[in-house]
């Protein structure tokens, strides 16, 4: 028994070493950095230890902007993308013909490079009158007599709209994939039983389908929240790397800027911001899990 345990640890050693070097050590380092005051990449020494970095970050208008952007993004894209994915999955599971074809079509964005999708979005929403390359959306608005809008360099709400649309578009395929298989796993007998009892389509959906797929829905909510809080590349793909100036920065973007951006060289500020993000995600996830345990049916069919 003891020998076997030793062997097991030996097998695990490479993985453990890898984790310690690339995960545990940096994590500890981040915590240390975040409490070292006055440390910069040029000075390389700290002037003291305290929570100064946190208060500086929390008073930084760019951070507040990034925080606000991230929350707006999370609050809009997570419910919208999950709801939309559910609608599309329901549609997909109710058709018979061409179902596989549509499943493939909906899955395509998942295997497409985010930057490429970003480029396409920029072209769609473009309003560059001088170069004459007006995007399809603005051509459309103009066709109906509306004023053209600069979605890429224009008002905040327009930029946020594009960012949200983009994010939803990017995360949709995975959610559709998960939900179509969740829907397919609901046994047909439940629907037959409901049908024999004259259950309406709506009641069947709210009382049978939804509870049955609720574990998967919550999984998507939790991972969706985490993913959206960590958003960064989406904003870069649309608005470039100067996100602070564009007013479209996210928390992860802020962390990057504090490290390597034009305002970079402050690993302490970056670490503090990263820790703040960590605690936000932790809190939201814990809340999610509590709600999930209250609401969802926890599987486990009958036993004979």
């Amino acid at each position: 028994m003891k020998k076997f345990g030793l062997k097991a640890w030996l097998y695990l050693l490479p993985a453990i070493l890898f984790l310690v070097v690339f995960m545990v050590y940096p994590l500890i380092d981040v915590v240390i950095y975040s409490f070292e005051e006055g440390f910069t990449t040029t000075s390389q020494t700290a002037t003291g230890v305290g929570i100064g970095n946190f208060s500086t970050v929390l008073r930084d208008p760019y951070f507040i902007q990034a925080l606000k952007n991230t929350f707006v993004l999370v609050a809009i894209t997570v419910p919208v993308s999950t709801g939309l994915a559910l609608l599309i999955s329901l549609g997909l599971s109710s058709i018979k013909k061409l179902r596989e074809f549509f499943q493939t079509v909906y899955f395509l964005p998942y295997v497409t490079n985010t930057l490429a999708v970003g480029l396409v979005f920029m072209m769609l929403f473009n309003k560059n009158e001088s170069s004459g390359s007006v995007g399809m959306i603005n051509t459309f608005i103009r066709f109906f007599g509306g004023p053209t809008i600069d979605f890429i360099n224009g008002p905040y709400w327009a930029k946020m709209l594009v960012l949200c649309l983009y994010t939803v578009w990017i995360v949709l395929p995975f959610k559709i994939l998960i939900l179509t298989s969740a829907l397919a796993s609901v046994k047909k007998d439940y629907y037959n039983a409901a049908k024999v009892d004259g259950t309406s389509k709506f009641r069947t959906f709210t009382h049978i389908t939804l509870p049955m797929i609720s574990p998967m829905l919550f999984y998507l909510f939790i991972t969706g929240f985490i993913g959206a809080f960590k958003a960064y590349s989406d904003a870069v793909a649309l608005f470039g790397t100067k996100l602070n100036e564009a007013g479209m920065n996210t928390i992860v973007g802020y962390v990057y800027d504090k490290l390597y951006g034009d305002s970079g060289g402050y690993p302490s500020y970056a670490s503090a911001a990263a820790l703040i993000l960590f605690f936000i995600i932790l809190t939201i996830t814990v809340i999610n899990l509590i709600v999930r345990n209250k609401l969802t049916y926890k599987g486990g069919g009958g036993r004979a």
Partner: protein, 364 residues
């Protein structure tokens, strides 16, 4: 409610080009009298579930019609037929307690049929009382035994006062002891409610023991129906004779010559009025009586005591199976470990079937 099936046929179209269409039910005619417990019996895959689904409306027949009393319901969707259905795996909603499961069908009633909360609760409790699960109402299906789940499923089917109760293999998910108990339970519930009940099974003992009428089918085709004992005593063909009874009937290859039936080369009985042809001879285990002067000679293999009765295991070259069995009471003693054992036949336990059509041509 009386149920009439008139020439019901169900052909499933092929799923792909390589497959051919499946005829699950073929020109099925049947009348199910009001208030009876009817067992639909046949081997797996013979179309029992399909037929049940056609009665309840989940499947529509390719041709033929279904009548409830005098009304043609062939085109009616299941919810308009007023049937209660218990599915093979019960299909209880796993996220709802037994109480909510039973209440669920009542929540679908709309307009004039809509019930008050008190009325719903009263009917739910009535149904729970009939199947004796009043003390399990707050449990979810996952925390109930198979037998308990099955009762909840029956209560859920009964709560809307259906005209017909349909059960698809209601006992197949239960262990042996529970199966015995539960089949008596189904019998009791059916007697108490007087509701016309059709239940599907592939277990002949189950069908024989509790039903008023058994209906046998094979590969989608109706074989025979009637009171269990009548069908057992008067099988219309070899399939029915083989399907009913444990141990199974002994079947021998034989022939008829000059109004005598032969098993192998031995003439074993007179069959007046039968033409010469190849036949199968079927003899029930209880129809073989050890008899020193009997016409059928078999090689002795072993003897098992079954309490009051005992079973002789023997073999015969013309038998379809490697062993033949005779069940007899201890009055017909045979000597210890003989080489051979001879049998004579009990009246009404001896059947002759045409080798080609497998129809019964003689009962002796």
């Amino acid at each position: 409610m009386k149920v009439t099936l008139d020439g019901v046929t169900k052909i499933f179209p092929p799923h792909s080009k390589k497959e051919s269409p499946v005829t699950a039910v073929s020109n099925f005619n049947l009348e199910i009298p009001d208030g009876k417990l009817v067992a639909l019996l046949g081997p797996s895959g013979c179309g029992k579930s399909t037929l049940l689904n056609i009665i309840c409306g989940l499947e529509s027949p390719t041709s033929g019609s279904v009548l409830f009393d005098q009304n043609d319901v062939t085109k009616l969707p299941p919810e308009k037929r007023g049937v209660g259905m218990v599915f093979q795996n019960y299909a209880l909603y796993p996220h709802m307690s037994a109480r909510k499961n039973i209440l669920f069908p009542l929540g679908n009633l709309k307009g004039k049929a809509k019930l008050t909360k008190e009325e719903k609760n009263r009917r739910m409790l009535d149904a729970a009382r009939i199947v004796q699960i009043e003390n399990l109402l707050e449990r979810k299906p996952g925390n109930m035994s198979g037998g308990q789940q099955q009762r909840v499923a029956i209560a859920r089917a009964l709560v809307k006062y259906p005209g017909i109760l349909l059960l698809d293999e209601p006992l197949s998910n239960l262990d042996a002891r529970l199966r015995l108990e539960t089949r008596e339970e189904i019998r009791r519930i059916q007697k108490n409610t007087g509701i016309t009940t059709v239940f599907v099974t592939h277990d002949q003992e189950e069908a024989m023991s509790i039903s008023d009428i058994i209906v046998l089918m094979k590969k989608g085709v109706f074989q025979q129906s009637g009171k269990p004992q009548n069908v057992y005593d008067n099988p219309a063909n070899l399939f029915v004779a083989k399907f009913l009874g444990t141990p199974a009937i002994n079947v021998f290859k034989g022939k008829i010559e000059n109004a005598k039936v032969f098993i192998g080369d031995e003439p074993v009985a007179d069959v007046p009025g039968c033409e010469n042809r190849d036949v199968y001879v079927g003899i029930r285990p209880e129809g073989l009586i050890p008899d020193k002067n009997g016409p059928l000679t078999c090689s002795f293999k072993s003897i098992d005591v079954l309490g009051r009765d005992y079973m002789i295991v023997a073999s015969h070259g013309a038998a379809e199976t490697s062993v033949i069995r005779a069940i007899t009471d201890s009055e017909n003693k045979i000597e210890d470990n003989p080489e051979t054992v001879r049998f004579s036949f009990k009246k009404n336990k001896f059947f002759v079937f045409d080798a080609k059509t497998e129809e019964r041509i003689y009962l002796g």
